[in-house]
Symmetry: C2
Subunit: 337 residues, 2 copies
Amino acid sequence: MKIAGLTLILTLSGVLSASMVDEAKKAGFKPIPTDEKELLKLIDNRENPLNSAKIELGKRLYFEPRLSKSNLISCNTCHNLATGGIDGVESAVGDGWTTNPHHLNSPTVYNAVFMDRQFWDGRADNLEAQAQGPLQAKPEMAISKEMAVERISSMDGYRDEFKMAFGDDNITFKRIADAIGAFERTLVTPSRFDKFLAGDEQMLNNEEKRGLKVFISKGCSSCHNGVGVGGSMQKFPLLKPYKYASVGDFKGDKSGMVKTPTLRNILRTAPYFHNGAVWDIREAVEIMGETQLGVKLSREEVDSIVKFFEALDGELPDVIYPKLPAVTIKTPKPDID
Amino acid sequence: MKIAGLTLILTLSGVLSASMVDEAKKAGFKPIPTDEKELLKLIDNRENPLNSAKIELGKRLYFEPRLSKSNLISCNTCHNLATGGIDGVESAVGDGWTTNPHHLNSPTVYNAVFMDRQFWDGRADNLEAQAQGPLQAKPEMAISKEMAVERISSMDGYRDEFKMAFGDDNITFKRIADAIGAFERTLVTPSRFDKFLAGDEQMLNNEEKRGLKVFISKGCSSCHNGVGVGGSMQKFPLLKPYKYASVGDFKGDKSGMVKTPTLRNILRTAPYFHNGAVWDIREAVEIMGETQLGVKLSREEVDSIVKFFEALDGELPDVIYPKLPAVTIKTPKPDID
């Protein structure tokens, strides 16, 4: 009897301690795999398979300012790996100090690999396709495909790196974007929430668990779920108007669908929303309650949800800053006009 | 006799092989010390003593875009550690995409510690004093002292880092610049030429040695010498007019003195001259022959000197890209107008 009672207690405590994790899983959350092979399977792209040479080349190109018309802007300018993968301004600023014509905010590159689609209107299938956009966009890096290839081809070393990454030394615009995409696929940030989802309930403190409960019960996790804690296309605004809709003119894709941003590292990526109109995470949560769920969240509920966000703060990968090759006499000159 | 003969040959060969090194030393070149204590003595600033916490804080602040009015520009924007410590444009571009009003080129931060003075007109005594300039300059980072302190003070973690670096957690504008200066002091790039100067004559190949001979015999080393292979204030142009003098309006300090740029990593730091008017290192060498030495260097002499420059290409220090703190509700917002 005594032994049976002990067993019962252990079983019950096991059930209790697993319950919150199970609830989170039932709500659709998935952890970033800790197993390297499993992670690789999740982040890889069959059409642009990862290899270490390609990732290293991609890192170099990600930081490569000569990939902009002016020589002054790199991918890292708007998706700064030092500051949560963003630029810290409401609306992206690019070539000629031009702000994004639709007042669109730069989404974080960290964990972008987990998004179903790329860009706020989801018009790119994956990171490789996305990378081709800002390189060429006039208000961003403003370089032509031809100029990008000419610049990179003119500098010593890159040809060998393309050979190691792609099997031959052909430098094409697509490969430039593919290498950048490959690097970006590695920018994932495992957090305490992942360890929690993997079964270690102690990784979230009680306040965070309360926040997670509110987050699930209010319905936030119906869109912010999966490995990305976001990433699907959703109608926005859904139930009530977005109070800052007049900032910029973005209305989503043809059907008014907008990509759900990841909530991983959300406390590092202010300002919020597609138009960067909100700096305070509490206000952002309140607005989401209204526009998407049609509820007025209490002050306590908002605070509790924000507490949960602390558990989504991930470990950023270490990045050794690259040493890029010098321009040569053949390198096309920058154009800052 | 035989033994004496052998001794004589060995001695002669010793004299011969040492002679080029001696000649270089006589011309005023000095190596970057390999001994850590000696190096520290050379790069340290008694009024802002180096320590590892200060260097690490300085690195973070060097890459800190929130130290600009816009949140978009850091020290690294114009002195990019990935591209030889420069920006690769003729004239620096800063806040609001404003080009330097005097069309001044951003000098490399690498080995800047070895320069006698800072800025093209030498108006700053040292790196700490220099760092205060671009932070505040309207066409550069355009931040006020007060705003810089307010931004940094508002973010988590910095206060502790200042305490570790300076002994107490007082965050001041001077300390921000002092930490940046401390980091910059560590950006030295030992090269084959240093090993050569330390006695290993084999570190330069014959072409480079020939180039060094031309460099010395033509008089280039009368200004480009010391550990910095440059760094003193000199009259420019001295003997003949500078053919691109009309680009910008810079005329040096009150006496027409201009800081001699370092030639370390010179093959990585195009475009050349204070106004960045020359992209081709060969043309730059030709012009220097004319304006400063009053000689027309032959094509062969120019090529030979440029060969020598290859030996000045140094090993850039490894830099782990920083992970900076998130803004808080208290952090003053960026202003991109």
